[in-house]
Symmetry: C2
Subunit: 306 residues, 2 copies
């Protein structure tokens, strides 16, 4: 494992994106949650991921939000924005902007409209972007989320990209939910930072060489996850593991993004957090009440302090 | 059927997009194929559809291509550009541009990244766009292509949108390949222009009240399909039906977009047409030779005259 590939480690958060009443991204609230997540120990901010409604934001909106975060004092090197897109020039524009802003890396989806495309086609896509950006500072993390993108990144493609762009391909987020497959990737690519998508696998993953995790539910429990990582190997870690697993289990029974936004709205007392961009919709009142009641009943204090 | 909803009828073509060596859209070649398709009798040009690699083009690229077509003398009212996008502001910008350029309509995908979204979410998406564009000239055709978009448009959603925006919702392209479902839509929505996605269903569809078809393979046989429509009800139409079905059957054995580009490249002698944007790749030489040999052996003269 090179130092470069370890630029990001620990718990990375696909930060929820707040929207104003006109559904414009709310840059001030966004900076506040980002600051809080870092203060709680997040190793990085994987902004514009799936949980962030990243694909519901235009390239220009994402670029402006990065600028705003940097102006607000968020360290750019801690940002790993999602910059994949169906159209190569959009992906190039976002990736270039992220690199020039000083982002520590980018998390890149393959193009996800055309289905059943070949490794050759995906290799050509990533190659075009890397070569057009043409910047040795670029650290690219591949984003494997076949259930959502319907565009799986095969181990053969990872190997081919890592060989062609060894200083650039830095890692992979594995949102497949296939833990056996994740373990094979960790073993097969010791020079890449592999991030499973759930904190529930952290205990085992850290022991195997995973770089950490990039998890939706890290939005609401960054501190407990950080403390699990800090105490890894001790009895305390077992306790954190149990607690974060309980919270994740409750949230997983609901549509993730509106559920997380409902929890943040409740815990901060700021109803603006309930807003989503279509096609996403909020939980209805009954489901929201059920979720919050289940969380209360668990006895796990989810504390959101911004 | 109102006159408005019938603004488009007959064979509409999701026009192939040519690319230059640097993978930029080639506006001059694009205008040439568009001109030829209209000369051959196309009732409209559904540019930036799936076959057009529309989702591999940015919003700005699509807008510039529309401007170029209009400057090149293509009647704007014959254009039905694809303006759906994952991010609402992109869809709004493209839709507004199309309307202001005088396009006769737009063909709109639902947002296609997030899966298993609700009719409420899709209704909110289309509503946002229609209301933000806020232009009575907008004629919106819904684009139902569940196998590719993974975002099906339900009959209940169509009814709800048609009721909420009766002057705007003009029709639907049904690329589901589910002919029984298409027939139900034609019967259920007599005020909407329903376009099946294959010329093979034209004979039957026209009799049932379909508005025509929007078909990938219309790129290579616009004249024969137009002649089928013109001779509908006569013995001549049966002959055209047989011939266009033969050609479509040959092409369907290959990945559609590179197959069509290979045929256009061969018939025009212009190898530039072979280029695709990643993730799409061209046919390999063997497959391309097989396709072209099968077409020659069919005895059907595919004539592309531009």
């Amino acid at each position: 494992m090179t130092a470069d590939a370890r630029a990001f480690s620990g718990v990375l958060v696909p930060v929820l994106t707040p929207f104003a009443g006109d559904l414009e991204p709310d840059a001030a609230r966004f900076a506040r949650i980002c600051r809080w997540l870092l203060d709680e120990g997040a190793g990085g901010l994987a902004i514009f991921g799936t949980t962030s409604e990243g694909n519901s934001l235009t390239a220009a909106e994402r670029n402006r939000l990065i600028d705003h975060l940097v102006e607000a004092g968020i360290p750019a090197r801690r940002l790993m924005p999602g910059t994949g897109a169906c159209a190569i020039p959009d992906a190039v524009a976002m990736t270039r902007h992220a690199v020039e802003a000083g982002a520590g890396g980018v998390l890149m989806l393959p193009p996800f409209y055309y289905k059943n495309q070949s490794d050759d086609g995906f290799f050509a896509y990533f190659s075009e972007i890397i070569e057009r950006v043409g910047d040795p500072r670029l650290k690219l993390y591949l984003y494997h989320f076949p259930q959502m993108s319907a565009a799986p990144i095969s181990p053969a493609l990872i190997a081919r990209l890592a060989k062609a762009y060894p200083g650039t391909i830095a890692g992979l987020k594995d949102s497949s939910g296939d833990w056996e497959g994740t373990k094979r990737l960790i073993a097969a690519f010791p020079d890449l930072a592999i991030f499973p998508s759930s904190e529930v696998r952290l205990m085992e993953g850290l022991g195997l060489g995973a770089a950490g995790c990039i998890s939706a539910t890290a939005n609401i429990q960054p501190g407990p996850i950080s403390r699990l990582i800090a105490s890894h190997g001790s009895a305390e870690a077992e306790d954190w593991h149990r607690r974060i697993t309980t919270v994740r289990g409750i949230v997983e029974a609901y549509p993730t993004i509106p559920a997380l936004k409902a929890i943040v709205a409740r815990k901060t007392g700021d109803q603006a957090w309930l807003r989503t961009r279509p096609p996403l919709t909020g939980l209805d009142d009954t489901r929201r009440d059920q979720l919050l009641a289940a969380l209360d009943a668990s006895g796990e204090p989810v504390e959101i302090g911004f």
